[in-house]
Amino acid sequence: MNTFAIRPLRDYPKVTFFTVALNNSEETEWEKFYDRWIRNDHSKHSREMMALIARTGTLTTALPQYFRNEAVDGTETKGMPPRSREYAGNRLRLYCKVLSPHVVVTFGGGLKTRGGIRAQDCEVVKHHFAIANGISAVLDEELEKCTQIGLSADGKTLEYNHEDWFVFKPNYK
């Protein structure tokens, strides 16, 4: 059984970013992503992704055009950077779920294999993508029920309990 809990990551003026911890672990997906893909990355790719996150959080809000749509089975999982010509050479992916223009939950990610293959077919990212899809589906359900996870009326605050662990099923479709 797979479980996740929500953890705070960064509170910008316009967007609050969260991450998740899996299976009762103290370590979050962001920490794993940082340790694996950012800490020793000397390319521009992780820096550009961070600049994109900072711009989104500081100046704009989580506008749809700043994310790539990675939806599977209606989960509307998103990814960064956006599907844009400017970022065509950037294979680093960070999967996330945009809950509102002011709240984004980030998951894991990685350096996608060259050749334009789908995320679900890439050996590096498919596990992270499957987890992202599974958690996205649960977040959708929980926001619908509004019992353990909710958004404030203005969509700016995510209401959740730090101690709550939610069951999810990775979606490899």
């Binding site: 990551l9 340790d35 820096r47 055009q65 010509r85």
Partner: protein, 139 residues
């Protein structure tokens, strides 16, 4: 602060000014087109019709999928009430001093000339080549 939050700050600190500028520019054109369309109440379909393009093609431009060449930007600028993208040009005067030996011994015997924005007045004792070129064209 949790370790995740600390690492996020560390990742932020690695970003260079040019990375922020790249991101700003990469999103600017699409954002500007959207802004003008919203202000003027222009739909993607109307913009496509004005440009003689398909709606999906315009959609790709706005998502950054399509190569926004200068010709495409020109089409978009003409189709919108105000330009989505422009380059500020300022008249720039560049002067080139002519050696004194030339102004005294050679120029008095030559006619003044003016060609393609570049003037040469041989009748002036401090003869200089004066050109006015757009700032953007000056190296």
């Amino acid at each position: 602060m949790s370790r995740a939050e600390e690492l996020f700050k560390e990742a932020e600190a690695r970003v260079l000014p040019q990375d922020h500028e790249f991101v700003r520019l990469s999103l600017a054109v699409g954002d500007r087109i959207r802004q003008i369309m919203a202000e003027e109440g222009i739909t993607q379909k109307v913009l496509a019709e004005r440009m003689g393009k398909t709606e999906s093609e315009v959609s790709r431009w706005m998502c950054g999928l399509h190569n926004l060449t200068l010709r495409n930007i020109a089409r978009i600028n003409v189709a919108l009430p105000s330009p989505a993208m422009d380059v500020t040009t300022t008249a720039h005067v560049r002067t080139t001093e002519v050696p004194k030996s030339m102004t005294e011994n050679v120029l008095p015997f030559l006619p003044s000339w003016d060609f393609d924005g570049v003037r040469f007045d041989t009748k002036k004792t401090d003869a200089r080549i004066v050109s006015e070129t757009p700032y953007s064209n000056v190296a």
